[in-house]
Structures are given as C-alpha cells and as structure tokens.
C-alpha cells in the first residue's frame, strides 16, 4: 500500500512526458501529409491544435514541453534551411516567439478552467459531507431522544407514584426501561461501528476459518430476539474455510438477524445458509416477511436510510450500512432480493482469494 503512491507518480510522470513528446511528433506527421512545406500558416495551426489537446488533457507542464518541441520540429522540418535547426529569416524567429506565447497562454487558460472545475467538485463533496452530517444529527438526536424520554418517564413513574402501583404495572414499567436501554445501547454501538468503518479505523484481521463457528456465535448472541422463530441453518459440510475477521463477520450476521427479527412478523421462519460459488462463500439469510420494494433494493444499504414503513427507534438506519461496510472491507459484496413465495433474502459473498495455509499433520495414533 505504502509503495503505491510513488510507483503511481512515476507512471503519471511517464505518461505526461509521453503526451508532451508524442503529440508534437504526430502533429509533424499530420502537417507533412496534409500540407507539405507550402502552407506554413496551416502547419502552425496543426501544431497549436496539438498543444491545446495536451494542455486540456494533461495540464501545464506537458503542454509547455509540447510547445518547445513543436517549435523545434517546425523549425527542423518546415522552415528553410530544411532538416536543420538554423533559421535564415528573422520573420520565422518572430513566428516561433508568437507560437510559443500562444501555447503558454492556452496552457494558462486551460489550467484556470481545470482549477475552477476542481473547486466546484470539492464544494459539491463538501455539501455532500454536510448533508450526511445533518442526516446523522437529526437521525441520532431523534433516535436518542425517543428511548431517553421513555426511560425517563417510566423511571419517574416507578419512583413517585402515589397511590402505589400494582406489581404488574411496576414490572411493566421496568421492562419498558430495560427494552429502551437496550435500544439505546444498540444505537450507540451502531454509531461507533459506523464511525470506525467510515474513518477506516477498523483493522480487518482475517484468518482462515469455517463460517460455521461465526454463525453459531451470532445465533447464540441473538437467542433472545429470535425466540419463537424457527431458524433453519444449512451449511454444507464440504464448505471450504474462508479468510475472515470473525468478530466483524459475526457483527454483520447479528445485524442481518436483528433486522429480520425486527421487520418480519413474529413467529415467521428464517433460513440461514452458506454455500460455495465462484471462488466465494455466499452467506444468505432468507425471511418470509413483507419483502422489499424493488426500487429500494440498493438504498436500504445506505447510511441512515429507512424503509418508509419503518418509523422510529431502530438502529438509526445504520444496521445494513454497517453490514455493507464490513463485507466490503473483506473485499466482498452484499445485496438483497425478493423471494419467490414472499419475503426477502439478504446475501453476502466473501472472496476466498487463495488457499488456507497447510497444517502440520498430527503425529502419533
């Protein structure tokens, strides 16, 4: 990674110098074929055209290089005495000067245009960042405030209720506080994960391992929210190991499962499978919920996006964006489809990219 910029710089420099050199040569050939030595003014035009192209495409330095070369080539091939850099007529010296000045002016102008372009681009990406920040703020403040107000309300009711509440009401309030606190925890967790993923602070520690262990860990952690549902797990015993960061992939699976638990009707079945396909391992979670409207199929993986029916109090619209961040950090991809017979299926593919390291065989019986 650290070597890339320097080798990129070398490649860039070579390309730019090439453009500054090759273009005047091409102009020479074109002028020779089109006009020969008779129409010097048209020949000059061809050279200027070449310089404009270089300055538009490659910038200031290459276009100056092209200008110098153009003057030299023009002198050598088209100005008497031919095939020599000597100049017999002072008029030609003036022409070279004018041609050079025109080239420099053109280069300056195109550079100004380029800079303005870049500024406009920066401004629009700043606006995009600003928009994201605003979306974050409004989403977070809303999502934080809802559980906080419920917790505050329920706790104050527990603390000062006269006449005293009956036990059923008390435990109802306590349960509400517990649920809302868990929601807050989930939101804070998601925000932390998303911030770390977005800032590139997440270190992906890949190790070759069976996906099965991670699936088991995720299902174990979600036993409570998945209570009352059948989750059919189908993992082929012949499935190869994959290079994954188990903690991150577990998080991605947890987010997908939490999502399914939240947005599909209570008691509907889920199917979790893992299969090998084209040098990847594809993990799929299928549900029998309401499915996803076709036009939103990609948007659901965006930050802060919620389905219209979703309403308040989820994970801040970040759960699937985190999944995508994790899967892409593994060099994989994630997508959703609707199922035949109703429901949605979320899939992510993780590249194998090689073979697991050889293990020393066990000695002895």
């Amino acid at each position: 990674m650290s070597r890339r910029p320097s080798s990129g710089l070398v490649a860039r420099t070579t390309r730019f110098a090439g453009a500054g050199t090759v273009t005047p040569l091409l102009a020479t050939a074109a002028a020779w074929l089109l006009f020969g030595r008779r129409q010097l003014a048209d020949v000059v035009m061809i050279y200027l055209l070449g310089i404009i192209v270089v300055s538009l495409r490659f910038g200031y330095g290459p276009s100056i290089l092209a200008a110098v070369l153009s003057v030299l080539l023009l002198d050598f091939f088209f100005v008497p005495p031919y095939l020599s850099f000597a100049v017999s007529d002072f008029q030609h010296v003036v022409m070279f000067g004018v041609m050079f000045v025109v080239a420099v002016v053109i280069s300056h102008l195109t550079r100004r245009v380029r800079l303005q372009d870049e500024q406009a681009h920066r401004a629009s990406s700043q606006m995009e960042a600003e928009r994201l920040r605003n979306a974050l703020l409004s989403s977070v403040s809303h999502d934080l405030r809802t559980p906080l107000s419920v917790i505050t309300g329920a706790a104050s009711a527990l603390l000062r209720s006269a006449p005293p509440l009956d036990p059923a009401a008390r435990s109802d309030l306590a349960e509400t506080i517990h649920e809302e606190a868990q929601r807050l925890d989930r939101l804070v967790r998601n925000l932390l994960d998303m911030t770390r993923l977005a800032s590139g602070a997440v270190h992906v520690a890949k190790e070759w391992q069976a996906i099965e262990g991670v699936v088991g860990a995720a299902l174990g952690r979600l036993a409570e929210p998945l209570r009352g549902r059948s989750v059919e797990v189908r993992i082929s015993p012949a499935l190869p190991s994959v290079p994954i960061d188990d903690l991150l992939i577990e998080q991605a699976l947890i987010n997908l499962l939490e999502n399914a638990a939240k947005y599909t009707p209570q008691g509907t079945p889920l199917e979790l499978s893992a299969d090998a396909a084209d040098g990847t391992v594809v993990v799929a979670l299928a549900d029998r919920g309401p499915g996803i409207p076709g036009e939103l199929m990609d948007r659901i993986f965006e930050k802060f996006y919620r389905l219209p029916r979703e309403g308040a109090g989820g994970g801040g619209g970040l759960g699937l964006a985190i999944c995508r961040g994790i899967v892409e950090a593994h060099g994989g991809r994630i997508w959703a489809e609707n199922r035949e017979g109703g429901g949605a299926v979320f899939r992510f593919a993780l590249p194998l990219g090689g073979t697991p390291p050889e293990l020393r065989p066990e000695e002895g019986p």
């Binding site: 262990g213 088991g216 190991s241 188990d246 903690l247 066990e362």
Partner: protein, 229 residues
Amino acid sequence: MSARTLLLIDDEPQVLRFLRSSLASTGYRLFEAATGQAGLAEAAARRPDIILLDLGLPDIDGIEVARRLREWTETPIIVLSARGQDQDKIAALDAGADDYLTKPFSLPELLARIRVAERHAEQLGDKKDAIFTLDDLRIDLASRVVTLGGDEVRLTPIEYKLLTTLARKAGHVLTYQQLLKDVWGPRYATQKQYLHVYMGHLRNKLERDPARPRFLVTESGVGYRLKVE
C-alpha cells in the same frame, strides 16, 4: 456458612450503585475500591471470594492489576470491559483473569458468571475428580475415554487435549493464545488456524448441530468456552 464476598474494583459510582442495590438481595457481601491501588489493598485485606475488575481504572491499568493479583492469589477474577476494549480484555485474560463481561451487562448475566467462577474455585480444592460430565458428555480423565450419550467418541490426541483443556476451565473463556500454548506448545501461540481447524473437528464429533453448538462455544475475537449452563 458466612456470606460470599465480592470485591468490585471500578471507579464509576453508577456501576457501584447498581451492583450494591441489586446484589443486596442475592446474599453476596460487596466490598468496593475505586482505584487499582485500593483494589489490590482491599483484595489482600478482605480476601474476597470473587473479584470484579474494571479495565478503565484511573491509576493503574486493569491488566496490571490482574497480573499483580495473580502473583499471590487464585481468587477468580471477572473482568468488566467496555466495547472497543477488546485488546485489553484479551490481555487481561492472558494475564490470568478468568472471565469477562462487556458493559452494559444485566444482573442475570453477572450472576451466571459468578456462579461459574465459584464452581470452579470449589473444584480447584478437589483435583482428584477423574470424571467430568456435562449433560450427556462424559470425559474419563483416568482412562482417557470420551463418551456422548453412552457411545464412545474416538478423538485424536490433540482433539482430546483440546477438549480436556477446555473442560478443566469449564464455563470460562480461554483465549486463543492460552489454548494454543496449552495444547500445541508455546511455539504455536500465534497459529490460530490450527485451533480453528481442530475446533471444527471436535464440533463435528461432539455436536449434533455444529452450527449451533451446545458445548463448544465461539467467543469471537477472544477464544472458546465450554458452555456449562
């Protein structure tokens, strides 16, 4: 029998308050320390049955506290860590802590961890027990025979060693490093792929549904645990 005693080393008064009121009805006596130094002194003075150790202490590193405690006591240590402290958590476990809980945790989770720690502390005094049982899993440590539901399960020497290493600390999490060192030797301490592969073999032999293990549980990013409840 006198009440069981817990020492909580944590500088956050809210956590203290939550534990003080919720442990009051469970028969545990709670001692408190707000710094690492005070914690080490309290541990020596009170000789608690269990130590709960927060990793974010104001004076000494929680990892260092675990290390210094382990110089003179085998008292079970349960580490309390916040999210994002994964590396510290693993370091504390490698330094001798027995288990961990990630904040925020619930009272039932805490009590379950405490029960496991207590059970293990009792077993330490009675090491002659040559038979380990867990549901229908039975390990005869004297004859080196493992049975599941009465049927013998054939294990390779490494699989057997991996299983018994986990069983010796049943209920506790063992880090990748601890397992690799104990089963394969110190030269293998970073060769996690061995562990992943052999754990897969062991699951295939002992679990009815390897993707939903009853016994051999993955603690992602940390290690493995032989689950007891």
